[in-house]
Symmetry: C2
Subunit: 226 residues, 2 copies
């Protein structure tokens, strides 16, 4: 029997990363899912990540604790900043967490190098996204170069590949893809500012993009709004 | 009075990073020092980092906890691997920690972006170093590009600069530079495998490079060997 190739998959517990995990598994990778408890306001997404990893069949799921509240700088990691609820605006919103994907990808590369995985999956997309600089294709490309130079990869004669299969998809296309791949979106969590029961606010950018995505996809939105 | 420019300085507690902190302070930066408790065997270096930050006058010193023992993969983060004591060999040694500097620099960028610092200092050097891929100049250059694309920097019309002032210096040149800048090397810690009192083993690569550096510099080595 051919051994499966290993991959590290960044898994937030949201809609996009659940789709990416399903996609990587479908592509035949043995998936090692990686989540972060980084002081996010919507820490409840980690429960979703656990359920999604189990349901889709990740071989392993690690959650790394990193305290980005140490310096805050984002509405997601600072209690002094509010999550905007007035609709998606142009530009980089206050929910942007400084260098978050750079940090997440760095850990992914570290884990990948340790277990011998050459493939890393991340659920960034540049359409229907929240204006985050660390979701753009140029960043992903630059990070791949950085990962290859900052590890043993090149010395050992191979390269890391950073897969961003959702990069050019709209939210509704992502939802259709995930539905085909068997993702149960009722397990996922997207809201930045849920209530104590974990119900979505329906008004933050993340809720709005998710709602719109389901509406445009024609697929029933399983999200519980408060 | 002119406000000082802020800089984030990676500070391990070793000889190189102490020199870099002194250098950045001399250059007129308001220095925010950043250390990591990452599960390193020589965790005692963090006590050294604290003393060095205080003594040299960092305005702030944060230590971030990240558990790289979760996956190990290095003699510094895995109890199952031994620190080599037979002398510095060619190639990448087992004390290399997968993607360590990528992770450290990612946090540095995150903090820098949050506090409005555009300058990041790191004590990598490519001569007299231990063969780590994440110390080479190409990596630092690639990381800078990545940092600029993965943050608000470019959108806001400026760029991060990653300073690696020791890049082309030998260990003895670093020691001479630091001595001129007033670094008290007795406060620093380099050994990968110290005893319970924190005394250096004298035989690991880090001890050997440090010893050789002091010998060649003609400056008295203040290190306490066991």
């Amino acid at each position: 029997m051919k051994t499966k190739q290993k991959a590290v998959v960044l898994l937030s517990g949201g809609l996009d990363s659940a789709t990416v995990l399903a996609y990587a598994i479908k592509k035949g990778f043995e998936c090692h899912a990686l989540s972060f408890s980084y002081g996010q306001r919507h820490n409840i997404e980690l429960k979703a990540a656990k359920k999604v990893a189990e349901k889709l069949g990740a071989i392993q799921h690690f959650t790394i604790n990193i305290d980005l509240r140490k310096w805050g700088g984002s509405a997601l990691t600072s209690s002094g900043m509010k999550v905007p609820k007035g609709g998606v605006k142009k530009g980089i919103p206050v929910t942007y967490v400084p260098a978050r994907n750079t940090i997440f990808l760095s850990f992914a590369v570290a884990w990948a190098e340790t277990i011998g995985a050459r493939d890393i999956f991340i659920g960034v997309n540049s359409l229907d996204y929240s204006g985050y600089p660390d979701c753009r294709p140029q960043f992903i490309k630059a990070f791949a170069k950085c990962a290859n130079l900052g590890t043993k990869a090149i010395d050992d004669g191979w390269k890391f590949k950073i897969h961003a299969p959702l990069q050019t998809l709209t939210k509704s296309e992502i939802i259709r893809l995930g539905t085909e791949l068997g993702v149960d979106y009722s397990l996922t969590h997207s809201c930045y500012d849920p209530d104590s029961k974990g119900h979505a606010c329906g008004k933050c950018d993340s809720c709005r993009l998710r709602k719109k995505g389901f509406q445009e996809s024609g697929i029933k939105d399983p999200t519980v709004y408060k």
